[in-house]
């Protein structure tokens, strides 16, 4: 066994993910927040925007559900663990910072996928046809990885006060929802809005979900998939690099 080898570090990252799921995710309030938050936002827009078709709004619901759940807990894990000194234990264990971050990302990816599947079922229960299941599955997997990387990126500032990170997290997450074509179709956006939307990975995921339920899309689907892959790689590499730099400042 080479403790520093790639496969061994992935195995240890999986141990971190199982720990996260057990401690942070399988908790009543977290699960309830994960489901209720996007549902209530969806209902608010359903009542306020009666001219938008149900398929459009359900697609937005799926996009929001994945985005909010995959970024709900992960930004606060490092501050929580820094506060409880458990991060110091992890730092003295034979696991790299990259593997710890990857483990946190796995947990948030799985949580995001689990909750999002519920919203997909809600969509099907409302009578929407699922036209492209494989595309939707691929999109959910890629976007879950991408959003969990965003969640971890939000945890980069080396504070051990979770409320600071959650405030920063809300400041970034909510504007992203509004520029990503969830409530305003991309077709109706002004050029500056479209330019902003292009920088949000949520835009491409929402486009994939819309294509999966309605068969219509703004960007070509391979382009959406490529954009999500690119965002995932860049954000994952960025968050790992930055956490490696800031980790000692938390101790």
């Amino acid at each position: 066994m080479n403790p520093a080898g790639f496969s061994e570090q992935v195995r240890r990252a999986w141990a971190i993910a199982r720990k996260d799921i057990r401690i942070y995710y399988i908790k009543g309030p977290v699960l309830i927040f994960g489901i209720f938050m996007p549902v209530f936002l969806f209902l608010a827009f359903l009542m306020g925007s009666r001219q938008l078709p149900l398929a459009f709004l359900v697609s937005g619901l799926v996009g929001m559900a994945l985005f909010f759940t995959a970024t709900a807990v992960s930004p606060a894990i490092f501050p929580w663990e820094g506060q409880a000194k458990t991060l110091e234990r992890l730092a003295s264990c034979p696991i790299t910072v990259e593997a710890i971050v990857f483990g946190d990302m796995i947990a948030s990816t799985l949580f995001g996928i689990g909750i999002t599947l519920i919203t997909v079922i809600i969509g099907l229960a409302l009578g929407l046809p699922l036209l492209h299941a494989i595309t939707l599955g691929t999109g959910i997997l890629l976007a879950a990885c991408c959003f969990s990387a965003i969640g971890m990126l939000l945890a980069v500032p080396p504070t051990n006060t979770p409320s600071n990170i959650m405030m920063l997290s809300s400041l970034i997450k909510f504007p992203m929802v509004f520029i990503s074509g969830i409530f305003i179709p991309l077709e109706q956006m002004p050029p500056w809005g479209l330019a902003l939307a292009a920088f949000s990975p949520l835009t491409y995921f929402t486009d994939i979900v819309r294509y999966s339920f309605t068969g219509t899309n703004y960007f070509p689907v391979p382009g959406d998939v490529a954009a999500l892959i690119l965002f995932t790689i860049v954000l994952t590499a960025g968050t790992m690099y930055l956490h490696k730099r800031t980790m000692p400042k938390r101790m």
């Binding site: 403790p3 520093a4 240890r12 409880a84 034979p94």
Partner: protein
């Protein structure tokens, strides 16, 4: 005997404060090495650099032949850490914490389970293995932390104040386990404020003050080295003249406290012989005669005393 820890010019600076100032020392395999110093002297910062928690600003540390900065995973695989504050996951049970450690050290599950059961039994926690750590007492948490650090049978163990604030039973259990580990060949790096603990356990002790190592030797040598003067405490069955005692050869200073005389001397043997003769001349009987060797506390206080500006 090779070195388990080899520190060269290790330095850490926080802002304008030099927390650890170019320290160098080594710890031999199988040794119990005490690391003492007053609060803020740089003990914890040094331990954190040695365990790879924070990087040094300059210098290097070889831990079990691996550079902690360049091969951190390989170095960390070989040691265990017991910090002063319990850092087990409070929301997990003792068993789940141990299994997590097993996974993080790459132990096969069956091996980790057997080892965890043995350690919990040794440390008196087996019956509480499925209880969440948040319900544990401080002593139980500290014993669990020790079990977590020992799960992978490390060749080197870092301990930061392992018995601080613990009840006698937990302290004795931990100290006894440390002695057993040392006999089995485990190297122990012990940071402590407890002089008695350091005196009894350690083969060698380093004393750090203001980020610099001011002494490094065996406890007895440290005690002997701090002062060329010794003290003798003597009491007689009747009053004797103070100036008679002060004139004895080798006596530097005489103090009376209650019915006892405290005599500061340069040569203990010479003064004891003179005292016997003196008591006979005075027709007095020596009731008690004690040589007061400097304690490790004395050595510590002397060595860590701040030099006035």
């Amino acid at each position: 005997m090779s070195e388990a820890i080899e520190v060269t010019d290790l330095t850490k600076i926080f802002g304008t404060t030099v927390a650890v100032d170019h320290i160098s020392f080594s710890v031999k395999e199988g040794e119990i090495f005490g690391f003492l110093g007053p609060n803020g002297a740089g003990k914890t910062t040094t331990t954190r650099m040695l365990t790879g928690v924070i990087p040094p600003d300059s210098g290097s540390a070889l831990i079990l032949d691996h550079d902690i900065q360049h091969q951190p995973v390989m170095a960390k695989q070989g040691f265990g850490v017991v910090p002063e504050t319990s850092n087990a996951y409070a929301d997990l049970t003792a068993w789940q914490n141990l299994m997590l450690m097993g996974d993080l050290y790459g132990l096969p599950h069956a091996h980790a389970s057997d080892r965890a059961s043995d350690l919990l039994k040794t440390l008196g926690l087996l019956e509480r293995r499925d209880q969440k750590v948040q319900a544990y007492s401080k002593g139980m948490k500290q014993r669990l932390i020790l079990a977590m650090a020992l799960l992978h049978k490390p060749g080197l163990l870092f301990l930061d104040e392992p018995t601080s604030g613990l009840d006698v039973q937990s302290s004795q259990m931990i100290l006894s386990l440390l002695r057993d580990l040392s006999q089995e060949g485990t190297t122990i790096f012990l940071t402590t404020h407890n002089m008695e603990e350091a005196n009894r356990l350690c083969n060698r002790i380093a004393i750090i003050r203001s980020g610099k190592i001011v002494a490094l030797d065996a406890p007895e040598k440290l005690k002997a080295a701090i002062d060329r003067l010794h003290r003798i405490e003597v009491s007689f069955d009747r009053d004797i003249p103070a100036n008679g005692l002060a004139r004895l050869p080798g006596v530097v200073h005489v103090d009376r406290t209650g019915d006892k005389w405290q005599i500061t001397v340069e040569d203990r043997d010479l003064v004891i012989r003179s005292l016997v003769t003196f008591s006979q001349q005075q027709g007095a009987v020596i009731v008690t005669l004690n040589t007061l060797a400097p304690s490790l506390d004395d050595a510590f206080l002397r060595l860590t005393r701040e030099v006035p500006p």
